[in-house]
């Protein structure tokens, strides 16, 4: 199975799209990959002469793969395919363990904690190529399809 239908619905584009590939998306979890291009805009300023991926960008990458992609899957399950989504991050609490340098590929693994009343909250982890933990945390967002009324449900 490929997840192009989900990728196409992600409401982001360069330079703020942080999903290359989805490896797995199901009712309870999502996994995906992203490689940070060496010429990404933020390396110019973070830090001076010492490019490191900002934590806020790592958090965004975790949210796009772990929460938004999963949310699109969960919504598509219930509503007609052509609808667009409305989206807002509502909270994030992330601990960081390792730096991510330009050109690195990361894997994001997310598990759903709950999806109710349009709020999707997930436990999300990011790993490097050697499966070492880069960061982990809980991220939540409000997500619903634009036309439908209420898509929430228990778990």
């Amino acid at each position: 199975m490929n997840y192009n239908n989900i990728l196409q619905k992600l409401p982001y584009t360069k330079p703020f799209l942080f999903v290359d590939e989805l490896l797995k998306v199901d009712e309870k979890s999502a996994e995906g990959l992203y490689t940070f291009p060496v010429d990404s805009f933020f390396y110019k300023g973070h830090f001076k002469n010492n490019p490191v991926t900002p934590g806020v960008i790592l958090t965004e990458c975790m949210a796009q793969i772990g929460v938004v992609s999963l949310g699109i899957f969960l919504l598509e399950d219930q509503v007609n395919e052509s609808q667009e989504i409305e989206l807002a991050m509502s909270s994030s609490e992330v601990d960081f363990y390792l730096p991510v340098f330009p050109g690195e590929t990361v894997k994001v693994v997310s598990e759903k904690l709950f999806f109710r009343f349009n709020k999707l909250k997930c436990e999300v982890r990011m790993y490097d190529k050697t499966e070492k933990l880069i960061c982990r945390g809980k991220i939540a967002g409000m997500i619903k399809s634009k036309l439908a009324g209420d898509n929430s449900r228990k778990n």
């Binding site: 009343f117 349009n118 209420d150």
Partner: protein
């Protein structure tokens, strides 16, 4: 369960999510979660999940949509407890 117990319990549940603390000083059935307490919609979901755990009830989408004030929440809780 007495009304006052439900209101006390609601106040305790909502407190961590309140932006406008003055709203808590005058906490009553007319208190509006969003207007008076400035709880955001994402945290209102947390409030509802906490209410479900506290009272061991399940709140459906329709009930959630009608939950604007503390009094609305109290009525929903009472109704669910009565039908349990």
């Amino acid at each position: 369960m007495k009304e006052k117990e439900i209101l006390d319990s609601l106040k305790k549940i909502v407190s961590p999510y309140v932006q406008r603390k003055e709203g808590l000083e005058n906490f009553n059935e007319e208190t509006d979660f969003i207007k008076d307490l400035e709880v955001n919609s994402a945290n209102l979901v947390d409030v509802i999940l906490d209410v479900e755990d506290e009272f061991d009830i399940e709140i459906d989408n329709d009930s959630m949509n009608g939950m604007m004030t503390v009094g609305d929440a109290k009525n929903i809780i009472e109704r669910k407890l009565a039908s349990a």
